[in-house]
Amino acid sequence: MLSIKNLHVRVDTHDILHGLELTVHAGEVHAIMGPNGSGKSTLAHVLAGRDGYEVTAGEVRYAGQDLLRLSPEERAGAGIFLAFQYPVEIPGVSSAYFLRTALNALRQRRGLQGLKARDFLALLKAKMSLVEMDQSLLDRAVNAGFSGGEKKRHEILQMAVLEPTLAILDETDSGLDIDALQIVANGVNMLRSQERAMVIITHYQRLLRYIVPDYVHVLFDGRLVKSGGKALALELEEKGYGWIEAQVARTQAVHA
């Protein structure tokens, strides 16, 4: 579904990713873990199509297309969804209106009819129970005045409504207390399916206790330096990122 080859990304004058490789198949959940500054959010944003991220080498193919040629909205249309680390506040646009506009825009891109207000509300109600979200939130402006937990639950609600084929969760666990974390994780787990892949980007192993990944990768200095199963996450939790650093340094010394 997603194939990233030798990806090099520059932001301003800094090379953030150099030579990242990742393959994700339908139905898989991949966790990408790494210390601060390793390039986690850069990867998320470059996949979503944010301006200011210059791909200097490599390629990203998604569902048979060159992903990097697509605009952010075209990527969404193709089934990519990014849950933001810092969801953006949009004063003056109610959450319900935003969700319906987004869903209908996606449906239009996929050649489907837009949903009428009533049908949409029924759909939305069903999805809201997934993240234990209060209905009153729908009338509030998108993310405006939401608590940290509400913002993240709202991201998962969007994912539930928009039904992506590839969901990228950028530090969705940051800033959540344990209750909110569980609610978010439950929501995500219920959205796991054979057709849908997920890439979960996180600093801590905490979230992975609730969302058990098929693969864990360690992102370090702009590259995936180690991959393994869910046990790798536990190892990282115990030992921290220091031993990876040491291992990478040794490997580089050998190659040099």
């Binding site: 944010r50 952010p72 909205e73 969404a76 953006v88 004063p91 003056g92 996606l106």
Partner: protein, 446 residues
């Protein structure tokens, strides 16, 4: 203003001549007022950008146009034009003015409470002089304002509304001003006087539209008098043709404990000046001025507001929002003037502007002048562009760039419509706003 400045101003000989001619009509009282205004206009001429109050708005293009006086040409007054002017189905009273002249056959009045007068100013000037003369031209000063002088000299007709003490007119009173300029550039000078006596209540809508994309000048003056405890909701909708000049003054006079809320929505016009002055001349009165102005293409929209806190314990709230696209240019110049005797004044003024294109421009100048120590006053203005973060966020949800821009702009502007209490009008204005924004999302409609 010094005499030398006056001498440099731009004269408009035909307009000055008409002003003189028209001024000689009417009763001796109106003749006197008109003639004084006509000679004042002849002296003043049009202002230039050297005057502080006109620094950002150049009216020289108006002076260059060989205007003729507007007749009561009805050809352009189609149902579509009237529907646009009325902004949604109207439940209330409707007075239609074509080129400033009352058109009874297009108007519809419903039963009114006893003593209430709603009709043409021209008729009232002969039939109800005692209710007109104590107020007309007493509030809107033509001494230092050329366009007010021109309007006063030329004033023939407009709306006259007089509500006696303790009387409430529940249904909104819609005043629709339609300009038709078949083949030649015309001037109309609507003049409105609204007097709501002690404890009275009314909701008024002034709506200005043009029949076709033609050049004309609407030079309108409205005086509103709110007596003690009176409550007035006022709306001013400006949807003139994009080739039109629109000069307008709303002058509000408030007595003790009165409440006036005025909303100004400006969507049309090529060169627009919208002035609102409110004088809080009675203790405990409250005034709210809301404004939304949109300018695209080459449109120029100048908003001038002034709130005079003359007496103590008065409150004023002002929020104006501007949206500028293309080479659109906006001006906001708002003054809150707190007089020496106005202790416990509570005033807040805000102007927020959104620039949608690199060539859009806004000059904003919020001003406080305070001559009393015991007041709570605040003001501020912002100029911004669409939030890149928010645009990206929307796009990652599948919403195209143009639609995302349109959505964020709509969110910014529609706040000013949400406060409109006449529901069908509010809905119609939301629709008008969406129409205004639709070129922004051309790709979506294609």
């Amino acid at each position: 203003m010094s005499h030398s400045t006056v001498a440099q101003n731009i004269s408009h000989a035909p307009l000055a001549r008409w002003a003189q001619e028209l001024a000689s009509n009417g009763s001796s009282w109106t003749q006197q007022v008109r003639q004084a205004a006509a000679s004042r206009f002849a002296t003043l001429g049009f202002p230039t950008t050297r005057e502080e109050a006109w620094k950002y708005t150049n009216v020289a293009p108006i002076a260059k146009i060989p205007f003729t006086l507007a007749g009561d040409e009805r050809a352009g007054v189609t149902d579509a034009v009237l529907a646009r002017a009325s902004c949604g189905p109207m439940a209330g009273h409707r007075l239609v003015f074509v080129n400033g002249q009352y058109a009874p056959e297009l108007s519809a009045l419903r039963p009114l409470p006893e003593g209430v007068l709603v009709g043409s100013l021209a008729a009232a000037l002969s039939a109800h002089r005692s209710r007109v003369e104590p107020h007309l031209a007493h509030y809107a000063s033509f001494q230092s304002h050329a366009f007010v002088a021109l309007n006063t000299a030329c004033m023939q007709d407009g709306a006259f509304i007089s509500i006696p003490p303790g009387t409430s007119v529940e249904a909104p009173i819609h005043l629709l001003f339609v300009s038709t300029a078949p083949g030649q550039a015309t001037v109309s000078s609507p003049r409105n006087l609204i007097v709501v006596d002690r404890g009275g209540q009314a909701t008024l809508v002034e709506s200005y539209v043009g029949g076709a994309p033609e050049v004309y000048l609407t030079n309108a003056v409205t005086e509103i008098v709110a007596g003690e405890d009176a409550v007035i909701d006022h709306y001013r909708l400006q949807q003139e043709s994009t080739a039109a000049f629109h000069m307008a003054l709303l002058q509000v006079h408030q007595e003790r404990s009165s409440t006036v809320t005025s909303h100004a929505i400006a969507l049309g016009g090529a060169l627009v000046r919208n002035e609102v002055n409110a004088v809080l001349d009675g203790a405990g009165s409250a005034c709210t001025l809301n404004g939304l102005f949109m300018a695209a293409g080459q449109q120029h929209v100048d908003n001038q507001t002034r709130i005079d806190h003359v007496k103590p314990y008065c409150t004023s709230r002002e929020l104006y929002k501007g949206v500028l696209d293309g080479k659109g240019r906006g001006v906001f110049n708002g003054t809150i003037y707190v007089h020496k005797a106005a202790q416990k004044t509570n005033a807040k003024q805000t102007n927020k502007n959104l620039l949608l294109s690199p060539d859009a421009w806004i000059d904003t100048k919020p001003q406080l002048e305070i001559y009393n120590n015991d007041v709570q006053c605040g003001h501020g203005s912002t100029i911004g562009r669409l939030d890149e973060e928010a645009l990206f966020y929307l796009r990652t949800r599948g919403i195209g760039l143009e639609e995302a821009r349109s959505l964020l702009t709509y969110a910014f502007a529609s706040e000013m419509l949400s406060q409109i209490t006449i529901e069908p009008m509010r809905d119609a204005l939301h629709e008008a706003l969406r129409t205004w924004l639709s070129p922004l999302r051309g790709s979506q409609e294609a």
